[in-house]
């Protein structure tokens, strides 16, 4: 008996073993695909990508993938025939927004002696997803130093299950350089996540430069821990260039102590009722709303997505109750604390209405009993019961409760021998698990990397490979749940993105052949945009 206990404890058997799968290993798993047993050998010197439309964004993506298709260099010269990947896109619109089509098909076949490679998509963003998938079809053989596409003919028909597939990051608890945020955007695009939810500010720091209130960054960790307007524009444009929406969050009314470095008068006065992290603004002061309005106005110009996250989480009612000024104001207005919160949230909604933004908040005000307007998106971090209540109220939900990357035990009651096996919990956490009615209002989810113990030094390793499971859960069919099969695809995918500079470790014993230059990109974006491109990308969204 003792012996078996020892075995279990020591060798740390990974609870899953990869299952041999034949055929292409694509992550997230496409909705439908078929494959054969042929091979198309590629000649890197004679490989072209051609598109049927003129789009700067698509052309840029094509240039990128021409490099990413062949990570190990040109390889050994071959005399394989010329191959052209033809991209056919129906719309030349470059507008990136929630619900934009990301559908695509890929066909890879030999017609006579010549390879026929084709991508068809509704939009350039669908074409970008297809390019990523195509890059995963190409295989490199280190011994012969040659590239090929095995398992042809391949036919893929793919589309996402949910339109909102995000990763939330937190630059309020730790500053993360602009270059690293672009690096993160790449990792999102590789795994077909389409939303970077940027929790910019929190109680600990306010790192975003504001045109109208330059002093606000006195609340940053330091003068070198600031995003300039140009930095933020570069991040937003970089996201757009990968089909990744950048959703800003400026958390109010709680988690806002950092605003008060520049504007000390706006905080609730409640020593002892909140820690610095969660400390709220005062709802009783017109200056507070004025400040929020100015900041949100500035930020709305930079963050051009239609959605804007205003936080709204974890309001410590006791703090408002115990501030004499707020208490008096609530009495005068005949407000309960919940009504005071309602009032505050209504003001934020008005501010965002004026900026043509749709509000996103954490589910807390809803849970507290505030009326939430139907066009709001609620991010649920509590549990499926809460998600069910939200959608039953006719409000759209994005789910995050089982996807907290910072937690030791992300899904209550689920523990594993090895920590990285928490990917299994993320994978099993279907957004519709426990949500049985009004499921169409669950529009996706986000993996959350809170920043108390994370910055660019350790970010990749804390997020990857575990978030691969979330990316697949949000993209692939609901019935794709076999963890052994997933493992067989996830480790090659983890290696695939490692080769591009994302520090994504393994999930079981194996070997990942790395390029000679991967480490150059381990904290940097693979690509950069010129100032001109950034400007053009902004103009393309108008």
């Amino acid at each position: 008996m003792l012996y078996y206990t020892l075995v279990f404890l020591f060798i740390s058997l990974v609870s899953c073993q990869p299952t041999p799968i034949s055929g292409p290993l694509i992550t997230p798993l496409p909705q439908t695909y078929t494959f054969g047993s042929g091979v198309i050998r590629l000649n890197t010197g004679f490989f072209d990508i051609a598109a049927n439309i003129e789009s700067d964004l698509l052309n840029n993506a094509i240039l990128r993938y021409q490099k990413l298709f062949f990570p190990f260099g040109v390889g050994y010269p071959t005399n394989n025939p010329i191959a052209t990947l033809n991209i056919k896109v129906s719309s030349d619109s470059e507008i990136l927004q929630l619900y934009v089509s990301e559908n695509y098909t890929i066909s890879v076949e030999m017609v006579g002696q010549s390879p026929q490679l084709e991508i068809i998509a509704d939009t350039i963003f669908g074409a970008m997803r297809a390019l990523e998938t195509f890059s995963q079809l190409i295989s490199y053989d280190a011994q012969s130093q040659s590239y090929s596409i095995p398992f042809v003919p391949i036919y893929i028909d793919d589309f996402p299950r949910f339109p909102w597939r995000g990763l939330q990051i937190d630059t309020g608890r730790h500053f993360i350089p602009t270059s690293f945020l672009m690096h993160i955007i790449e990792s999102c695009a590789y795994s077909k996540l389409n939303t970077l939810h940027w929790h910019v500010s929190d109680g600990e720091s306010f790192p975003a430069e504001s045109k109208s209130l330059p002093n606000i960054t006195l609340g940053a960790f330091g003068p070198l821990a600031i995003y300039t307007i140009a930095d933020m524009e570069e991040i937003v444009a970089y996201g757009l260039s990968w089909g990744v929406r950048v959703l800003p969050e400026f958390d109010v009314p709680a988690h806002s102590f950092s605003w008060s470095t520049a504007f000390p008068g706006i905080m609730a006065n409640c020593p002892g009722d909140s820690d610095l992290d969660g400390w709220p603004l005062s709802p009783a002061l017109p200056e507070a709303y004025d400040l929020i309005s100015k900041i949100y106005t500035d930020m709305s110009e930079i963050f051009i997505d239609k959605y804007f996250h205003s936080g709204g989480d974890e309001l410590p009612y006791a703090c408002w109750d115990n501030d004499p000024v707020i208490a008096n104001w609530m009495t005068q207005n005949n407000f309960s604390t919940t009504q005071a919160e309602q009032y505050f949230e209504d003001q934020i909604t008005n501010i965002l209405d004026g900026l043509q933004k749709t509000k996103v908040i954490w589910h807390d005000p809803f849970a507290n009993g505030c009326e939430v307007r139907k066009d709001t998106v609620l991010q649920v971090w509590d549990n499926a019961q809460m998600a069910q209540q939200v959608v039953n109220a006719g409000i759209r939900a994005i789910v995050s409760y089982d996807w907290y990357l910072d937690m030791q035990i992300p899904v209550p009651g689920h523990t594993h021998y090895e920590y990285e096996d928490t990917w299994l919990d993320f994978y099993a956490a279907d957004p519709l698990m426990g949500v049985t009615t009004n499921t169409e209002l669950v529009i996706g989810g986000e993996s959350c990397m809170w920043g108390e113990q994370v910055d660019h030094r350790n970010f990749d390793v804390r997020v990857w490979p575990r978030t691969i499971a979330i990316a697949e859960r949000l993209w692939s069919n609901e019935n794709v749940t076999d963890t052994n099969k997933a493992l067989t695809r996830f480790d090659p995918f983890s290696c695939h993105i490692s080769n591009r500079g994302i520090n994504s470790g393994p999930l079981y014993p194996d070997y990942c052949l790395l390029t000679s230059d991967f480490s150059q990109y381990s904290h940097q974006p693979r690509f950069k945009l010129t100032k001109e491109q950034i400007k053009n990308i902004y103009n393309s969204q108008k």
């Binding site: 060798i11 058997l13 974890e314 809170w450 390793v461 381990s522």
Partner: protein, 526 residues
């Protein structure tokens, strides 16, 4: 959605990790000018010379800074012994006295004590990003320091995933930054055999790939690099189980037990085959030429007795000799002890043979990873502890936290004496274990650090040093400092760590390579 890590209590004075045994400090600040800073050391030790060169760089990570009018300063290093010999128990004691520019002094019994002192000084020197100046605050500083345990290590597993030799040297840098002195290198396992052997070149057929191997030169460089920082490199070639990778070259030395192949990573050798012992003898003899340390780890864990019983040849052999599986294991362990004795090596094994009832040679050092601890020391064996220091586990000691990184505090609380009531003098120290089923060099820094800092301090500092908030206050700057040097060690609470422009060039890389000549010198003067 966010639970704040327990508040950090402000600690005044120098923030040093691990906390020194004794320290006093004042309120003066000494300005330093990197251009007028010298380290003076009459010792002729090549190891110390190399360390001085390294720390001259690490003292001033941000270059020369703004022009300074600070006076010239000299750090004097006085070492009693000139010997470069590195071995378990070598003195790491030192004193540091930082009074004024003309009065900066390190004294130590050995070069390795001086190297620990240099690390401490590097943690005392501060750089101000605004004024771009270096200072030594809190002078006069007086430190008397020495380790609580002589064996303070990290175990790395290069079999479940290959990591390059350069990354092992990078890890040695990280160990030295935390005054850890042992790299336990679990080289082989069932999944791969990455160590090149001149005697048996075919063994690396069991590697993951032709390029996923350590050449003999790689191994020597890692050992020499360890020595340059006072880090002993102890090899582990795990036998008789966890050896399936040996079978690529020597298929017949494996036990034949089809019922057990589902867990090929753990399959054992045949103990009834003469070739098994011949291969082990020749390989261990060769490897003892590269690994200078007198300790040699032979694993010994997790022998599946059922496999030996299932193999007809092994079963017959046991029958002929009247051996139970335990006696067979005993026979095997005795052979390994003799093989190592011939090359003057002391055997280390995991606690499994002891737990199985094998009578181990009294000289054996036992690494404890389960609860058999008290029995082992009572039986008179020396031990190193690892049971509460498993870095791969989700719940390393049974304690639950909101945030995963807070498991550092479990490691910190896990004193080697916990639960031990007698024979504590048998505890030589401990090791944090990074089993690598789910780790490679891309992720290892982050999986190991900053959490293993909790282990490093537990093994160096006084037993009474247990205040988590006090530790956090010091670990904050320490993890930042490690990052500044290129070790990807994240934070434990909200703060800001300014990184130099060049930190990325040292990610996964050693900070300072040794020359071929240095490697030869270091390997030959032990």
């Amino acid at each position: 959605m966010a639970v704040l890590v327990g508040g950090q209590s402000p600690v005044s004075g120098p923030l040093i990790v691990p906390q020194p045994q004794q320290m006093t400090f004042g309120t003066q600040t000494l300005q330093l000018n990197p251009l007028k800073f010298q380290i003076y050391c009459p010792s002729k030790s090549p190891v110390l010379a190399s360390a001085i060169k390294r720390y001259s760089d690490l003292f001033f990570l941000y270059g020369n800074g703004a022009p300074s009018t600070a006076p010239a300063a000299i750090l004097n290093i006085k070492v009693i012994s000139n010997s470069d010999s590195l071995y378990l128990g070598v003195s790491e004691n030192h004193t540091i006295s930082l009074v004024a520019a003309y009065s900066l002094l390190i004294t130590a019994d050995t070069v390795y004590g001086a190297i620990r002192a240099l690390e401490t000084v590097s943690q005392i020197i501060q750089y101000d990003f605004v004024t771009q100046r270096y200072t030594i605050p809190n002078t006069p500083i007086s430190i008397t320091d020495y380790p609580r345990f002589p064996w303070r290590g990290i175990m790395i597993d290069t079999a479940r995933h290959f990591v390059p030799a350069s990354y092992l040297m990078h890890t040695i840098d990280a160990l030295a930054a935390n005054k850890m002195n042992t790299l336990h290198w679990h080289i082989t396992d069932g999944q791969s055999f990455p160590a090149s052997s001149v005697t048996y070149p075919n063994l690396t057929m069991g590697a993951w790939a032709p390029e996923a191997v350590f050449s003999v030169d790689d191994i020597k460089e890692v050992v020499a690099y360890g020595k340059s920082l006072g880090v002993r490199v102890v090899p582990e070639f795990d036998i008789p189980s966890h050896t399936y990778s040996w079978a690529a070259a020597f298929p017949t030395i494996m036990a034949n037990c089809p019922d057990y192949t589902y867990s090929y990573g753990q399959l054992p050798m045949s103990i009834a085959n003469y070739l098994t012992y011949e291969v082990i003898t020749n390989l261990f003899t060769e490897m003892s030429g590269y690994f200078l340390d007198t300790y040699f780890h032979t694993g010994g864990d997790e022998v599946p007795y059922g496999c030996w019983k299932e193999d007809p040849q092994v079963a017959e052999w046991m029958n002929l000799n009247g051996y139970t599986p335990t006696l067979a294991e005993q026979f095997f362990e005795d052979q390994v002890t003799s093989i190592l004795a011939k090359v003057n090596r002391t055997k280390i094994v995991w606690n499994d043979p002891f737990v199985d009832g094998v009578k181990l040679d009294p000289s054996t050092l036992i690494q404890v990873w389960d609860s058999s601890f008290q029995d082992i020391v009572n039986a008179g064996f020396e031990v190193i502890v690892s049971f509460d220091y498993y870095l791969d586990e989700q719940v390393p000691t049974g304690n639950l936290h909101w945030m995963f990184e807070d498991t550092w505090s479990d490691f910190y609380a896990a004193d080697p004496y916990n639960g031990i009531t007698s024979n504590t003098n048998k505890i030589l120290g401990g090791e944090a274990c990074m089993w690598s089923e789910q780790v490679n060099h891309l992720s290892m820094d982050v999986r190991v650090w900053p959490r293993a800092i909790g282990v490093a301090e537990r093994l160096w500092s006084a037993q009474t040093q247990t205040d988590v908030n006090n530790a956090l206050t010091r670990i904050g700057p320490q993890t930042c400092r490690m990052s500044q040097r290129g070790i990807a060690s994240g934070p434990l609470f909200p703060d800001f760590c300014m990184l130099p422009d060049d930190f990325e060039s040292y990610l996964q890389q050693p900070r300072m390579r040794l020359s071929k000549e240095q490697i030869n010198t270091f390997l030959n003067n032990n």
